[in-house]
């Protein structure tokens, strides 16, 4: 970017520079966003600025599950109605949103904030694994569900966690892998298909109550 262009005022150039740092924003998008903000009503621009500041000031990590939160412990961890004997381990905070959307899980979570990626030099010490093990000490945890992504790094992380957690006498489970809804059998890779065959389930007769499990 040409910072010293005389056609662009210094404060505006600075704003363009800041937008340019964001993921997925190129030089042209950065300029467009900056000029859009310039024409925005002052109140709206203030609100945006305030929201950014607030996020940075008030959001922290929950000391229990490491999710991003406003209050510590977070709303999931302090919810008395949730099952406190199950922990679902996920890679990123956004994964919790995905699982919560299903409304099929009522236990607790733990966010690792990444995956083991040996080739990128990301090891277990860079994740929130110590914090996870810490939780087994106090609470009565019966099951750990490994919900890391079904790719190479996610699998490596799941296998590593299994090594750590299994000896503690806690049941370790992994999310099922198989065919995605709306998927296409002929395009499935053999690992997925093998897993799908292994995890096949008996078809049940139509159930009037609609309860599947």
């Amino acid at each position: 970017m040409n910072e010293s262009s005389p056609a662009i005022a210094a404060p505006l150039a600075r704003l363009v520079q800041e937008f340019y740092k964001l993921p997925g924003i190129g030089p042209k998008s950065a300029q467009r966003l900056a000029y859009y903000l310039l024409r925005m009503p002052a109140a709206e621009a203030q609100a945006l600025a305030a929201a950014i500041v607030e996020v940075k000031e008030r959001i922290t990590l929950c000391s229990t599950c490491q999710n991003v939160t406003e209050a510590d412990p977070c709303r999931v961890c302090s919810d008395a109605l949730r099952d406190r004997t199950v922990i679902c381990v996920v890679e990123e905070p956004l994964d919790i949103l995905a699982i919560e959307r299903t409304q099929a899980y009522r236990g607790l979570y733990h966010v690792l904030h990444g995956t083991i990626s040996p080739m990128d030099g990301i090891g277990p010490e860079d994740l929130k694994i110590r914090e996870l093990l810490e939780r087994f000490r106090g609470d009565d945890i019966r099951e750990v569900i490994l919900a890391t992504n079904p790719n190479l790094e996610g699998e490596a992380t799941a296998m590593y966690l299994t090594r750590l957690v299994s000896p503690l006498g806690i049941k370790v489970t992994r999310l099922a892998r198989g065919l995605p809804v709306g998927g296409d059998l002929e395009y499935a890779d053999d690992v997925t298909l093998t897993r799908a065959l292994e995890g096949r389930q008996e078809m049940e007769q139509d159930n009037r109550d609609g309860a599947s499990t």
């Binding site: 040996p118 090891g123 699998e155 490596a156 090594r163 995605p180 709306g182 890779d189 053999d190 690992v191």
Partner: protein, 260 residues
């Protein structure tokens, strides 16, 4: 070699990195074109038909379209998925090391069929689980050979005299063994045992089948690993990151995993 706009090739996926919203850029090793990069569009969505086929360490048949910057993967099918490598953390960490080393040592777009063959053979050996240590050391020696960094094991890298079977040193900086007289001049040279030297020479001279029967005791295996790794780091001028994970797994398997 002029490649047509749309071309097909077999490839082993060495590594991947995220790109944009849902894309990945893959580093691929091909038999005919050497190491290339390919962009896989939309593979981070669950509905992607390609994502399962494009996992690292997979051997696939790919269809690529030439792009302005990187070629784009238009279609793919798994040929070999090494699933037993993926289900064992130790084997997985070793094969990631193999993939990373291959990626780092080879330049882009330089055809190198022997290295492709070596990579495939090594992954298969690791998957079979016969002689993990030997398979890795053989891989390192051969890859160094193929990329022009063959370590000198017959004569002293300092004074060019034949190495006598007494005491000898390995100097990663000078790229080979040194006699005791030259060792002090060679920075970073460390003692190499007679057995260590013998095994290194055999790995360098003989094909894998002759080496597969070798059994190393723990101290010897560790010695060879250290020497070869220090040489690799010296050649690359950087650490091999996945080696740290192999070390960590080994360290932790010796203790009860109560603390990380």
């Amino acid at each position: 070699m002029a490649t047509p706009r749309l071309y097909k090739t077999e490839a082993v996926i060495l590594r991947q990195r995220k790109f944009g919203e849902a894309d990945r850029i893959l580093t691929l090793l091909t038999p005919a074109f050497g190491k290339i990069e390919g962009k896989a569009r939309g593979v981070r969505k669950t509905t992607s038909r390609m994502s399962g086929h494009l996992q690292p360490l997979n051997r696939c048949m790919l269809q690529l379209a030439q792009g302005r910057m990187t070629d784009v993967i238009a279609g793919c099918e798994t040929l070999e998925s090494f699933h037993r490598l993926r289900e064992d953390l130790d084997r997985l960490s070793e094969s990631l090391y193999v993939a990373e080393l291959t990626d780092r040592m080879l330049p882009e777009r330089v055809p190198n069929y022997p290295s492709y063959r070596l990579l495939l053979d090594t992954l298969r050996r690791l998957e079979q689980g016969d002689g993990g240590e030997i398979a890795l050391r053989y891989f390192e020696i051969r890859l160094l050979d193929q990329s022009g960094f063959r370590p000198e094991l017959e004569q002293c890298v300092g004074c060019a005299k034949r190495i006598e079977a007494e005491s000898h040193f390995f100097s990663p900086r000078a790229g080979g063994v040194t006699c005791p007289a030259c060792a002090p001049d060679s920075e970073g040279a460390r003692s190499l045992t007679l057995n260590g030297l013998k095994v290194l020479r055999q790995l360098q001279r003989e094909p894998y089948n002759e080496n597969a029967r070798l059994r190393l005791d723990a101290p010897l295996a560790l010695e060879l690993e250290r020497h070869l790794r220090s040489y690799v780091v010296c050649v690359l001028e950087r650490d091999v990151k996945s080696a740290a994970f192999i070390d960590r797994l080994r360290r932790e398997s010796q203790f009860t995993p109560a603390e990380v």
